[in-house]
Amino acid sequence: METPLIEFKNVTKRFGRRTILENVNLQIYEGQVTTIIGLSGGGKTVLLKHIIGLIKPDEGTILFRGKPLNGMSKSEVDASLAQMSYMFQDNALFDSMTVYENIALPLRERTTMTKSEIDSKVMARIEQTELTDSAKKFPSELSGGMQKRAALARALVIDPSIVLFDEPTSGQDPVRKNAILSMIAQYQRKFGFTAVVVSHEIPDVYFISNRILALYGRNIVFQGTPEELEDFDHPFKDEVIRSLESLQKELTGLHSKRQFKVMYQGQMKRRSLRDTYCVAVFKLESLDAIITGLGHESAQEAIQSMGVYIDKHFGAIGGFSTRRSINEFVTVLPYSEQDEAEDMLADFIKDFQEHGISEIWAGAREKAAPGTCVDFTIVAGLAQGQPIAEIETVIASAESQQREIGRLQCRLQGVNK
């Protein structure tokens, strides 16, 4: 069995008479994105600060690659913790330093790199986080999103193998929230670090997470994949997930996966086994290319516009939709047979090509730098199911039949559809 990168064994932490963490047991595995969810003030940040050594446990042990931190020599602890970076909830940028100086600080203070080596490394991170124009600005001159990116650049500049993100999306609008999550996912794939994220953004954070840890009542009550969390039966789901899910419609206006499931089950109960329904799956392809070409915020604007458009079109004719992954949407047409659904989809495609794709481009262009271009391809697939069939099978069938329904090519002169 794989040794966890970080493991908590019966960790307890008290502040005065208040117990914040009690017998916490958890495992974080290398190369994964692990998200810690829980109520505000529930001890998530305290838990994260234990990992980086800012807070020491009162009881219990923290193991790093299977070795207890409290049994290591000071140099071993330093070497272990030196592999980590921490992105604070409020960024903790040095307000008397420019963005460049903030990012260069760990290299200047901790390494023996020359000035030119530091400069090239810092500038590379500044370019990757789209902060080139802001390098000489002070943090107070930047927007909230840009400050987050500067904090992210500072966290990544030492090439850490573990990055801890403390509520990286707090105080951001829905598009920026998703842009930051997408940025974390993209950098995690690009640099291969292990990410530990504290977040409230349910279900958006599921799309980037390999594992979820649920902190509830001073303890970890769930560890597993986002899919396993769907089937988890615990008061935590009622108190935390559902309350946080109510905010999920911010980005796309679509139902959460759980709400979608409840609606689907409600519809199917009322149907006879011979009745049919249809499922359409829509996907915005080459998301990474869109992010590279237009930036994270524009990509999120495009996703938002696509979700809103699908919901508007199919919601009006009795369909209900959800966001299945970061760039994929599923719509159920509960009372339609294949032929009827084909006609609906054809209507949608016509309408989408005439208006929808322009709206997506308009949404994306709002946030993109002037003169930037990128190709958008949207594919859709349709499949018919019966109440007896598993929805996942029907979705998989619709995915296998996906074909291009819209393409937007950007030229310097304008937009070709």
């Binding site: 800012l54 330093d78 970076s85 921490y86 604070f88 409020d90 040095f94 307000d95 600080l105 203070e109």
Partner: protein, 298 residues
């Protein structure tokens, strides 16, 4: 007072019944305990203050030695130079201004006091010795506390409450080495230099008021300044300024660094109160230390 038969019966029944007697006893014990606590409360408060004072004295001494131990590192020089500019060079104008007027006032007062005794020739001695032995080191320390000390506390305090110091920790940059050590070393270097400047400008100020404005003899003034000052006066003055530098820098850095630990407030208010505490405490400790050092050196 005689009890009525009803009360007597009730009391007897409570004595016979242990539960009832305990019920009677509890409020009496509570009342006595409250009274004792009230009487002891001034001692409790005094005890808490003394414990807190001893605690903070010990902690700030350790803080100082930790900071000094972290001075010797190849990347410290640029930070010390930066702080020398901030604490030292930037304070020269205000030190010169205060020194000049202090010297002028000394010259003025000395002239009018000594004229009555027919000893106006001793103005130079009075101005020079007052400045070099006492006023120079003390007023320089208090002025730097007001100008740079308060800013040091506020800056470090804000860095503490906005998690910038925690950020240093997470980057494995030692905050004591990065923030505190350069400031304490820069203060130890700056204070004697600024004291020397204060003394010199003060003597010039005394010359302006007593000689140029009031007509005392210039040659006598300068001769007395030169003749009355011994090397010991100068070294004693500099010893004092180094002691004051250690006190002011340690108190100001300590108050800012632990602004988040204040029991009486949080956040921005804690930074404000820490800054006030730093200035008041530094000024008082400078005067207390002045007496102790003077009594040891004299």
């Amino acid at each position: 007072m005689a009890l009525s038969s009803k009360d007597q019966k009730s009391a007897e029944s409570k004595i016979d019944n242990p539960t009832a007697s305990a019920t009677l006893l509890v409020p009496a014990v509570v009342k006595t305990w409250r009274l004792v606590r009230l009487l002891l409360s001034p001692f409790t408060a005094a005890g808490r203050t003394v414990i807190s004072w001893v605690d903070n004295s010990g902690a700030s001494t350790i803080f100082l030695f930790l900071a000094l131990a972290k001075t010797f590192w190849h990347k410290q020089l640029s930070k010390i130079v930066q702080q020398l500019y901030y604490i030292g060079a930037s304070s020269t104008t205000i030190i010169a201004l205060v020194g000049f007027f202090t010297g002028m006032v000394l010259g003025l007062q000395s002239y009018h006091a000594l004229v009555k005794l027919g000893a106006q020739g001793a103005i130079g001695t009075m101005v020079a010795l007052s400045l070099v032995r006492e006023l120079g080191p003390v007023l320089t320390a208090i002025m730097i506390t007001a100008r740079a000390g308060s800013a040091i506390t506020a800056e470090i305090g804000v860095q503490r409450i906005s998690e910038q110091i925690d950020a240093l920790d997470t980057m494995r940059i030692d905050p004591m080495r990065y923030l505190i050590s350069p400031r304490i070393v820069a203060a130890i270097i700056s204070f004697p230099l600024l004291t020397a400047l204060f003394d010199l400008i003060g003597i010039i100020g005394g010359y302006v008021s007593s000689v140029l404005l009031l007509g005392a003899n210039a040659g006598t003034y300068l001769h007395r300044v030169q003749a009355s000052l011994e090397m010991k006066d100068l070294t004693d003055g500099f010893i004092k300024s180094v002691v004051f530098a250690v006190i002011v820098a340690t108190v100001c850095c300590y108050q800012g660094y632990f602004a988040h630990m204040r029991q009486d407030s949080h956040g921005a208010k804690a930074v404000g109160l820490s800054t006030t505490s730093a200035v008041v405490l530094s000024s008082v400790l400078v005067l207390v230390a002045d007496y102790i050092v003077t009594s040891l050196l004299i």
